[in-house]
């Protein structure tokens, strides 16, 4: 108990000593038993040196479903978990975006390192505050921009930066499908989710920034302002300082999820469309009456991108390495989303002012 109530660098030193000394088991406290919580939990459970010590969610049944036969405890608040658990190494935050800040600040205040789902926050101001507070409390903050861990995306980046297809003129990305079902329909509230621009295509903004660097200006059109029920769609043009033009599509208007990209270079083209990728396609006949089958496309890999991401973050915690995607990267991706949302409202392109600044 004394251990948890004291925060700060001294404790971190102790903790690292203890861990290296005689405990390699990572103790995870998962916040949120929704879709992403379930995804993360499944991967943690399959890791040998990881123990999910608790799940924080008031929906006990939902949490129990995730836990199954494991010995994870259910808590109704972080405070309760911190009080009752002997030791927590990492808090993994899988709650809706508008709640990220609250939990990041709580975890940091308790001196616990953090993995937080993307987008980092709802506003740039909140994101900055969260990053600064984690620095102050000397805890590490990892943000789940998982697309960097998808091998098809990582490989496309390699090809592009190695010059395989020459100079790039136009890049196109697409992401989306069904309107997502979420806890108390939070995705439908623009002020909680930020719609497709903040919640969905921030993945592609981060991915493109990873390849092409700083953004010059952003112009966006979308349905957010129309306030249509369970429907969002946006087409965003992002022009990089290098001159590359990216067309980024985000949709919660289609029926089937897909992600696509196309890099059109001077000497070659790289295309990817998740809908065309069918390494395993299961089609089960429902019944004699209903003939339409349920198609379940999968992309089997030894390690899923989510597994690779969490494993990487835990590895970086252990070794103190800089992760493949930093909290600052997460902030920069949010800047592009914020610029797109601003452009949507003002109807004019938004110029980014370079060094980590806010849209002007």
């Amino acid at each position: 108990m004394v251990y948890m109530s004291l925060a700060g660098w001294k404790l971190k030193v102790y903790r690292e000593f203890f861990e290296r000394g005689f405990e390699t088991m990572r103790r995870i406290l998962l916040i949120g038993a929704g879709t992403m919580g379930m995804e993360h939990a499944a991967h943690y459970y399959s890791m040998e040196d990881v123990h999910v010590v608790g799940i924080v969610d008031v929906r006990t049944e939902q949490a129990q479903k995730i836990i199954g036969q494991h010995d994870t405890k259910i808590f109704s608040s972080v405070e309760e978990a911190v009080e009752q658990l002997e030791k927590i190494d990492v808090v993994d935050i899988c709650v809706p975006t508008f709640l990220h800040k609250e939990y990041v600040l709580k975890a940091a205040d308790n001196g616990i390192d953090i993995i937080c789902e993307k987008p980092l926050a709802y506003t740039l101001q909140d994101a900055r505050e969260m990053i600064d507070f984690c620095k102050e409390k000397q805890v590490r903050l990892f943000v789940g921009h998982v697309v960097r861990f998808f091998p098809q995306y990582a490989q496309a980046r390699e090809l592009v930066i190695n010059g395989t297809i020459g100079d790039i003129g136009i890049v196109r990305t697409k992401r989306g499908g069904n309107f997502p079902a979420g806890w108390s329909d939070w995705y439908a509230d623009q002020s909680k989710s930020g719609g497709v621009i903040l919640d969905l295509i921030i993945h592609d903004f981060d991915f493109l920034r990873w390849i092409f660097g700083d953004v010059e200006r952003v112009y966006a059109k979308g349905l957010a302002e129309r306030k249509l029920e369970h429907l969002d769609y946006a087409l965003v043009t992002v022009t990089f300082k290098s001159g590359v033009i990216a067309h980024v599509e985000g949709t919660w208007a289609h029926q089937t999820f897909s992600s696509q990209f196309e890099f059109a270079g001077k000497s070659g083209i790289i295309e990817y469309d998740s809908l065309k990728e069918e390494p395993v396609l299961l089609s089960v006949r429902q019944s004699n009456e209903r003939k339409d089958g349920v198609a379940v496309p999968q992309s089997p890999l030894k390690k899923s991108p989510y597994y690779s991401e969490l494993e990487h973050f835990l590895h970086c915690l252990k070794t103190n390495e800089t992760p493949l995607v930093t909290a600052e990267d997460a902030y920069k991706a949010m800047e592009i989303s914020a610029a797109a949302l601003q452009s949507l409202q003002t109807g004019v392109p938004v110029v980014l002012n370079g060094e980590g600044g806010e849209p002007v």
Partner: protein
Amino acid sequence: MKIGIISFAHMHAVSYASALKGMEGVILAGIADDNEERGKKYSEAFEADYYKDYHALLETDIHAVIVTSENYLHHEHVLAAAKAGKHVLCEKPLAANMKDMEEMIRICEQNQVLLGTAFPVRFNTPVQQAKKLIEQGVLGDILAIKGTNRGTNPGGWFIEKEKSGGGAVLDHTVHVVDLMRWFTGAEVKEVYAEMGNVYTDHPIDDCGIVTMEFTNGMFATLDCSWSRNQNYPTWGDVTLDIIGSNGTLKVDAFSQKLDLYSNHDGVKWIGWGDDMDAGLIEDFVTGIKEGRAPSASGHSGMKAVEVALAAYQSFEKRTPVKL
């Protein structure tokens, strides 16, 4: 009915000539081309009389001409045809400035000849099927359209601005803007564009993303780039992804294809869909017989070019341009 062709500078002329040859009751009577070698070659191939001077062709008893010259000559050729009392089907873009296009439309009206713009994609069978679905109201309100009309760098006079009037943005904006107008009946009211010069070794716009707002409240983007490289399995595409309040509709005009894997040519897509150029020419010829304007009139041609011109203005000023 006798029809002539002015210039084979634009290679679509070959396809139009083939369509004319395949139609009953239509004679491809003459071909005028200031490039003698080219003109004679195609005159022989299509068994038509050759004229070096297009005025000589216009003096014959033909009923109509198809103008497939370099863009900067469309104005001169259409005016001459109208004054000679010949109906005209003009290759897109109709012209590269508003003044010329307004004059072309006016002079054709004054001389009581029909003026059509060659927008063959209107006659692509999947595109026509999509239009029917939209008219049936299957999609509900149209909220947004994502379009592409990518292509290969055409080279030649296309990348000489004095002759073409503009690069990819002018060349490839007009087709899909025309489809968007045709599908919805709405007009473009605002245009924003980003463009670049990457694919050609020539100072001309060869890629771009055009964003538009329409009078019906919908928005749209269009990728008009010459971004297909030499080894891409086909020349390019025309696609539309239409977002409605009740659903979405994806149109890929040339996806009726075979995939060919050849030791000589690598991968090639071989189209097996209906010939849209034949539909374009048939509509023009039927229009003349019935005395009605072609599906895509001179006005349609002008409205599409207006958007491309606004795109250039927008890129120059880095701001949206209202029409």
